[in-house]
Symmetry: C2
Subunit: 277 residues, 2 copies
């Protein structure tokens, strides 16, 4: 909806008639939606499917969300407003690897699949959350190891077919501080070790890995082993994932809601977890 005719029509309509009549029931419903929005509950169960709920694993895609040093911050611009034009639209401008986003094989591999042609069934799979938050408190450079994966399996059984293996380091609580990226000595944040990535690729049959930090490789990495191994195997990476502690102790299915960016190396996405399945 974006042309002069629309703007004029909408403006006239609001001036002359006000909003069209909407039933009292609808406005009451809207009230309850606004209330729910204000509470920002991460997990709400629908009355008609009590055993399932959507959990949001996605940060708001803001212009001040931290990016890899040297990369551009996301930008946005208001094109039209309800007050001036009768409807509201923004223009957005960003590099693909910003905010809660995905890495596709083509990000590192010349002939790797890109966002628009990647098979859709790979975008869903069981969530496996590896909690290294206690270790990360003392060591910003810590990594998910093969032992961490084996420990998870001792407690939960084998990592299931098609899984998204997610690192929870607790790092999201540092967003807005310098420590999210590191310190004056360089980048410091947790990630997957190359050995753990290799083990997942060789010994299990996963769809991808995810982290609550800026990169699937840890901050000090100079060789980007995990990027090469995961993307080189045709699998997916998810970075800056939010709210993983909410699904740590429950069965959940990850769903990667990424627009089909033309020839995309990846890009901003809505990462959701369907809890209870």
């Amino acid at each position: 909806m974006c042309n002069a005719h629309v703007a004029q029509t909408v403006r006239e309509r609001i001036n002359n008639e006000g909003l069209p009549s909407v039933s009292r029931r609808s406005f009451l419903k809207m009230g309850s939606i606004l209330t729910a929005g204000a509470a920002l509950a991460p997990q709400v169960t629908r009355a008609d499917m009590p055993e399932r709920s959507l959990v949001d694993l996605t940060h708001a895609f803001t212009t001040d969300f931290p990016v890899f040093p040297g990369g551009p911050q996301a930008e946005r611009e208001t094109l039209v407003t309800v007050e001036e034009n009768g409807y509201y639209i923004q223009r957005r401008n960003f590099a693909e690897h910003t905010g809660t986003h995905m890495d596709f094989p083509g990000h590192f591999i010349a002939d790797g699949l890109r966002t628009d042609t990647y098979p859709v069934e790979m975008l869903m799979g069981p969530a496996v959350v590896i909690d290294i938050s206690a270790r990360a408190e003392d060591d910003a450079d810590t990594m998910v190891t093969v032992d961490d994966l084996k420990s998870w399996e001792m407690e939960n059984g084998e990592i299931p077919e098609g899984a998204f293996v997610m690192m929870y380091s607790g790092w999201e609580h540092l967003i807005g501080t310098q420590a999210f990226l590191g310190d004056d000595s360089g980048l410091h944040f947790p990630g997957f070790s190359g050995e753990a990535s290799q083990w997942l690729v060789e010994e299990r049959s996963i769809h991808g890995i995810g982290v609550d930090t800026l990169s699937i490789d840890h901050g000090p990495s100079a060789t980007f082993d995990t990027h090469f191994i995961i993307l080189g195997a045709g699998l997916l990476g998810i970075e800056n994932v939010a709210n993983l502690s909410a699904i740590m102790d429950s069965q959940a299915t990850i769903i990667c809601g990424i627009p089909r960016y033309e020839e995309g190396s990846g890009g901003p996405a809505r990462i959701l977890a369907l809890a209870g399945m």
Copy 2:
């Protein structure tokens, strides 16, 4: 992943060592993924969940996808490439209502909820597909009517709580032709009638509506009744939806994978259907 250090490291690594070793099993797996991607099968069943599958209802987000007249085409620019820099990233630049995208209440309503604060549980709901494709073949301006909704209910039972009611007009087959938008006399494509929208808002309890055309109002609309009624009720619109015929005769759940665009009026999204639930 976007700075000069990364580029240099990755370039050196490829030059000196080639790709890190990935097991034969992984490369075989990658082969099967590439094959699956080439086939672009809209619906693939995972071996371990035979009763469920993801169906992609999303067009590729291309720079030549038709937009509302007067609106800007989406743009993209390659920032770095695997060949030159060791990794590949694009910059994207677009107005929010482009491609397969969503309308949030704030698009038309001054204090309406926007993309970043809208309650996540509203992004999922049962699919209801209203097929008006036979009528649309003869009448580009046709609309989903209250009678269409009641006819659907006669065959399928009451529109379920939280549904996304989707219009299938067959219009996606016109993408790339002038007829997708209309003709020299103006905009002509199907949409929802204001009466049908009002009935859904007052008589049922839906999460939103969707269309396989450019707008939830039909082309000739001068008053945008459906936008005002649906968004005014705090509900969601989805435009340029693809592939709805694939879920017309089966039970499916719509999942709206929209990035949490800061103060977004809506924006490009991955619209998915979970068939079999």
